[in-house]
Every structure is written in structure tokens, then in C-alpha cells.
């Protein structure tokens, strides 16, 4: 079971990391390397797109939480989108959805970002 990673720009200063296949002990180092290369405190938001991810184990979760920590430290947004049910279940087991921005699909994420944008504008 392998992992493929695609990185695309996300709005002005962000990146979308689309992961497909399996994120587990075998493939977690590969994602960690991508994160090391692509994500720093200037990136906002970091979006992880799980649409084509079929399997997630604790090794993969660890990379995700490490990335969350970077984003928390920099104040950037960390958004998870398109989780399949068995993937969402793994997060729920760790009760780690609290404090995570998880969206069931792209529309829901777009609505959230638009609302955030409006709040920023209202505050100006």
C-alpha cells in the first residue's frame, strides 16, 4: 500500500496537500519529508485533502499532529477536508477532532473560509 502526495497552491499564501492511498508506518516518513520541505510559518492555510486516502494509522496521525503543531505555533490555519468515514473514525477514536478544523467536503470548507474572510473585513 503506497502513498501519493500532491501539493498545490491554496489561496494567496497557503498550500493544499492531497494525499492518496495509505498513510501508515511505511509511508508516514514520505509525508513528513514533504511537510518538512513545504510547510513553514509563512504558509497559511495548510489544507490536507483526504479525498483519496483509504487508510490511516497512528504513524500517519503523528505526522498530522506534528504539522498541526507547526501551524498552531505560527498562527496559521490548519484545515482537514474530505475525510472518508473510516478515516474520520480514527480521529474520533483519539478524540482529536476538538481543536481541529475538519470539513466533510470542499463546499463546507469554502463556506467556513468565506465566513472567516467576512469577519476579517468587518473588523477592518
Amino acid at each position: 500500500m503506497s502513498l501519493s502526495i500532491t501539493i498545490t497552491p491554496e489561496s494567496d499564501h497557503g498550500k493544499r496537500i492531497s494525499i492518496a492511498g495509505s498513510l501508515d508506518s511505511n509511508t508516514a516518513p514520505q509525508l513528513q519529508q514533504s511537510i518538512n520541505e513545504e510547510i513553514d510559518e509563512s504558509v497559511d492555510p495548510t489544507v490536507i485533502d483526504f479525498k483519496d486516502l483509504d487508510f490511516l494509522s497512528s504513524a500517519g496521525l503523528r505526522v498530522i499532529f506534528k504539522t498541526k503543531k507547526i501551524m498552531d505555533n505560527s498562527g496559521g490555519r490548519f484545515l482537514l477536508v474530505n475525510l472518508q468515514p473510516q478515516i474520520k473514525k480514527v480521529f474520533e477514536i483519539i478524540k482529536a477532532l476538538d481543536g481541529m478544523h475538519v470539513f466533510k467536503d470542499q463546499d463546507e470548507m469554502d463556506d467556513y473560509l468565506a465566513a472567516m474572510q467576512n469577519k476579517v473585513k468587518e473588523g477592518e
Partner: protein, 141 residues
């Protein structure tokens, strides 16, 4: 290796992460054979992965290749998956290496919690210098 249930399908792999996919292929075959529902299949697959990674990480204190057997037993309402290895005494659920700290999830420790959550019972025994660890999942058809 002898087992009380030696008529159950089983597979033997080595204590190497690269062998993990063989366990999955074996699970796929058993799941197809008995018509296992996706939800149960996904839960077992994850529990197997976490268990296997724990065993290969901590049950052996040398650099030699060791066998790990995985047996699959099912009846109408339950599936038992048993791991057997000849490593040092190691109970995957009482692994002092891994304690999950909710505020430090980036440091790990989630595997045991996942194993417990994905299965209904877990049982460890040390028999004849072997670790025998069984995961049980109950289900209704």
C-alpha cells in the same frame, strides 16, 4: 508452531515492516471468503496494522529475522485474530514505551488506544516461550 486451533487459516510473515502488506492481503482473502462487512473489515485492518507494528518494534531484541504467525478464526458472531511470535515476553497492550498524552499527540502513543477501540476484546498469554496475542471482534450479520 503449534496452536490449539490449527485448522484455522493462517499466514506467517517475518518481523519486517515490508511484510505488513502480506497480512493485509491475507485479511482481504478471509474477508472475501466470509463476506465481511466493510466497517468490520476496516476496524480489523487497522487493529492488525497497529498490533503488527508494535510487535516488530518491541518483541525482538536482536537483528535476526523472526517469524510472526497470524491466525484467523471466525464463527457466526465473532472473529478472533491471533498473533504468535517467539520474541521476548511482550504484551502489545502493556507497552511502557507508549503512553498517549492528549496534549502531545505529535509524540505518538496512539496505537494501543486504537487497538482497544477497534476491537472488543484483547487477550495476551505467554505460552511455551511464545507471545500469543488475540484480538476479538464481535459482530452481527
Amino acid at each position: 508452531m503449534n496452536s490449539a486451533k490449527n485448522d484455522n487459516p493462517s499466514i506467517t510473515v517475518s518481523n519486517s515492516l515490508s511484510d505488513r502488506d502480506q497480512l493485509f492481503a491475507f485479511l482481504d482473502k478471509q474477508a472475501d471468503r466470509i463476506g465481511l462487512a466493510d466497517g468490520i473489515y476496516n476496524d480489523l485492518k487497522l487493529a492488525i496494522d497497529e498490533t503488527f507494528v508494535n510487535i516488530i518494534s518491541y518483541a525482538f531484541d536482536d537483528k535476526i529475522s523472526h517469524d510472526i504467525a497470524m491466525e484467523f478464526h471466525h464463527s457466526d458472531h465473532r472473529i478472533d485474530i491471533t498473533f504468535i511470535d517467539n520474541g521476548i515476553a511482550f504484551d502489545p497492550l502493556n507497552d511502557s514505551h507508549k503512553i498517549m498524552d492528549k496534549d502531545k499527540l505529535d509524540e505518538g502513543g496512539m496505537g494501543i488506544h486504537i487497538i482497544r477501540s477497534m476491537t472488543d476484546e484483547q487477550h495476551y498469554e505467554r505460552i511455551d516461550q511464545r507471545n500469543v496475542f488475540t484480538l476479538t471482534k464481535h459482530y452481527t450479520k
